[in-house]
């Protein structure tokens, strides 16, 4: 069944190209659909994001975890020939796990959107489909310029998603998001050009391929002086850490999250932030092992501050979305800590946590959106005791919360445990500080649940609150399933990630 649906390879294209451009094709076709035909737009959006999800599922089934390096389903064509820029794609277990997360979340977001009454619905769907191409492209591109192109392609649809369908301060938030990420990525662009020039000068080969560069880095064939390496690493790290976002680069995130519509928040927290940590592991660490070593204390220090700061600030929030946004700052800082701890457990935990956080936080934002759509407020004080009115929402919210705070049996536990175990081996103090963040997360999340769902109904207006509708339920269920499955049966995913982690750590000269 799966094979028969996804075997319709576009124009004979390979499977990664199909994956990448299926959403854009949908967006392109949607342009021909009149804006009033909401049913047709909904169907098209679900069809194309669903097909993309199936293609990614097919890739996951076909992928052999033993594939060395980043060579799964490798595609390699010249693109801008005279410049040495290639259309080079490839996948490994790490990228694959995030690809599936991306296609799943996009599909779920469009499912939820199907039940929402959105203005300019066509533009909404088109934005998400283009965004999906950008996200997937960033994950599978092996040529750094190609990566950069997809990386930038993500910005524009997200700008519109926040700016058009967002809240009161949407224009400010959208611009802030765009500017912060653009400054980071432009510096990375200069670093990419610099590396290509340096690579050509020293090895005689004009190439932007990550794989060639990794070879150069391995033997230091491109003769980077420590100063140069530090600068270039700094540019890459800045681009990615803004996206993560690591304290103190995080200020755009609460604004963007609070103002973004539900779908925007889900994708932002679920995928876009992960692309920052993905970039660190894919580019920054393997390409600049010496600089990584040098900068580790600084970044770990910032991450530790971020873990505690994010949790601390989250605990003080009255707005549910802001609370979840700051909890993301805290959780992602933990992921960064796991990456820079430099051992296999912590790295595996970091990746596991990336996926897990994508599911739990995605679900949390989705459910906050459910409440917001009905009451048009995100203040916790405006709710209270709504569990009786919205039992299904409450149940799902509790599952997401428990997943997020790391209850054993749900996904968060595995990721956090692995990170802390790995960090413990390196430095007990780091581990202790990071663990406080976990404790705080339990406090603020459970407080949120208590204030919003438990107890007597404090506001009469909430008596009429309607529960989650079918579209929202359909959109939430896959995430719930993912949270549970990843919690009780982590083996296959960890096996999938293992070769990638070894590959990254070896390249970064950190012994796994």
């Amino acid at each position: 069944m799966l094979d028969s649906i996804t075997s319709l390879d576009l124009l004979g294209a390979d499977i990664l190209t199909t994956l990448l451009f299926l959403p854009s094709l949908g967006a392109l076709l949607l342009l021909a659909v009149p804006a009033e035909a909401k049913q047709a737009i909904r169907a098209m959006g679900l069809l194309f994001s669903g097909a993309t999800l199936l293609v990614s599922a097919k890739i996951a089934l076909r992928f052999d975890p033993a594939t060395p390096g980043i060579s799964g389903f490798r595609v390699d064509y010249p693109w801008m020939e005279s410049l040495g820029i290639r259309y080079q794609l490839g996948i490994d277990g790490f990228a694959l796990s995030l690809v599936v997360l991306t296609t799943l979340l996009t599909f779920c977001v469009l499912l939820v959107a199907a039940g929402q009454d959105l203005q300019r619905f066509k533009g909404y769907v088109v934005s998400f489909l283009i965004l999906e191409t950008g996200m997937l492209g960033s994950l599978v591109a092996l040529d750094t310029i190609l990566f950069y192109v997809f990386w930038e392609v993500m910005l524009v649809p997200m700008y519109f998603i926040i700016g058009i369908w967002g809240g009161k301060r949407r224009i400010y938030a959208a611009m802030k998001f765009f500017l912060f990420t653009l400054v980071g990525s432009l510096l990375m662009f200069i670093a990419i050009l610099f590396l290509a020039i340096q690579h050509q000068k020293t090895t005689g080969i004009l190439s932007f391929s990550l794989l060639d560069w990794m070879n150069a880095a391995k033997s230091n064939a491109w003769a980077l002086t420590p100063g140069m390496e530090a600068l270039v690493f700094g540019a890459f790290a800045l681009a990615f850490l803004v996206k993560v976002p690591l304290w103190p680069l995080h200020t755009w995130l609460p604004d963007a999250h609070v103002e973004a519509p539900t779908g925007g928040s889900v994708i932002l927290a679920g995928v876009l932030l992960k692309l920052g940590t993905y970039g660190l592991m894919r580019f920054a660490l393997p390409l600049f092992p010496n600089a990584t070593m040098k900068f580790t204390p600084l970044i770990v220090g910032l991450a530790l501050v971020g873990v505690v700061y994010g949790a601390w600030v989250a605990a003080a929030q009255k707005d549910m979305k802001k609370l979840v946004a700051y909890s993301s700052v805290s959780h992602l800082a933990l992921v960064v800590l796991g990456i820079f701890a430099g051992n296999a457990e912590a790295a595996a935990g970091a990746i596991y946590q990336m996926i897990g956080h994508g599911l739990t936080t995605g679900l949390l934002f989705m459910l906050v959106g459910v409440l917001y759509d009905r009451r048009h407020t995100r203040e916790m004080a405006d709710y209270g005791g709504v569990a009786r009115q919205v039992p299904v929402t409450t149940t799902l919210f509790v599952i997401a919360t428990l997943g997020s705070i790391g209850l054993p049996g749900l996904n968060g536990f595995i990721g956090e445990f692995l990170i802390l175990a790995g960090v413990f081996k390196v430095n007990v103090v780091w581990c202790a500080i990071a663990a406080t963040g976990m404790i705080l997360s339990a406090i603020y999340m459970l407080t949120l649940i208590q204030k919003v769902f438990w107890g007597p109904v404090t506001q009469p207006v909430n008596n009429g609150l309607t529960d989650i509708n079918i579209w929202e339920f359909l959109g939430a269920m896959p995430l719930v399933a993912g949270i549970v499955i990843l919690g009780v049966y982590p083996g296959p995913v960890l096996d999938l990630l293992k070769p990638s982690i070894t590959f990254v750590l070896e390249a970064a000269r950190l012994h796994p």
């Binding site: 192109v149 930038e152 765009f178 400054v183």
Partner: protein
Amino acid sequence: MPFPVSDLILIVPELFLTAVALGLLIYATVVSREKEGAIAWMALAALVLTGVLLFVPFSSVTSLPQIGFAGMFAVDKFSLFFKILILAAAAVTILFSLRFIGSSPYPGGEYYCLILLTTVGMLFMVSGVHLVSIYIALELMALSQYVLAGYFKQETKSIEAAAKYFVLGAFSSGVLLYGLSLVYGAARTLTLTGVAQALAASPKAPLFILGIILVACGLFFKIASAPFHVWAPDVYEGAPTPIAAFFAVGPKLAAYAIFARIFYSGFGPGSADWTVIVAASAALTMVVGNVGALMQENVKRLLGYSSIGHAGYALMGFLGYGTDFGLPALMIYLASYALMTLGAFGLVVMLETKGYAGESVDDFNGLARKNPTAAAAMLVFLLSLTGIPPTVGFIGKYYLFTSAMKAGWFWLALLGVLMSAVSLFYYFRIVRAMYLVDGEGELRWKEEPAVSAAVIACLAGTLLFGILPQPLVSWAKACLLN
């Protein structure tokens, strides 16, 4: 200076265009106001035919370069590259002008003839390999430009633009001419190859250095780079919008072409010290243009400042002198700049109903709802101007930054990307107006087939060369100076 009559064949396209321009000027005096549209179409046809003629006199373009008129005029691939772009820019300008001029109270006949004469000047400029022929061609272009800037003679702003342009333009021509005369004094020859030889023999002669500085200053005026840029926003704002579009592209292309020719063929081999002046101006220009644009409410002024910023980026191309990236970077960038700038101006033209109505950023409010296609086109042009992939503006910047870095100007490339981030801020004010703000009242929007066609052509180029830049790159690389 004697020259064989057969040399005339080299300037057949230019002669043809001059003849048409003069013929139309006479015709314009007898034709009635209603039938002036025909003049525009004839002018357009003349531009297309000139483009065809560029390739006719030679059995094949491989027989290039050919130099005639006692070393004053060269037909080489470099000049052909620029001539094609210039003719296209002029043709687009005419398409922009059809209704704009037709519905204005001003006669159209001379208008189109002046565009053609400006174009003739530019065509001669890019073929000039002799200090005097370059200068004379430049004056032909500039004098026609002054008149065009003040074409709406009842409008104070238009007159002001023309007056400013004339005074500053004349002054800069004087500076340029003085510089050229000093170079002549030192080199005792006016041909660029002769200058190059003389400069190689005595690279540190004070007369040369002063001459080079003055020539650079004169040319900085023409491409509107800091600190000689102040005229540009006023002129763009005051001139009729199609003319502003034309000024932002055509004369700049020609000025860059002679800049490249004089500095690469003339001053290049002997002494490369001039890169310091160019780098300083590039840095200043990027900052002044991009920061200046932040404060503009008027779209034409905004695009004026943005074009100053782009002049700064483009100057980085000169710094790659001697690497395989400098000149191609400049040429690719100019082609991309022409596409996206003309496209953006085209949408401003459509937004205006007449004269000076409708040119503040707020006039774009709600365009995405009223006309999604136009808004999407404007979005692409603005993204391209910012340098975001997959648009041609990204390709252009890619080349320029690489060129600057290969030549060792890292800080300049860094400044360039930072200024790109700044430029996002003001370009996206227009995007915000189009998409995020709801328009109040009627949007003054006039759909027009001629303008639409031109905009679509620019849009196609912006996207196509953004995704598959190879043809543009190969073309530019095949047309380098030799």
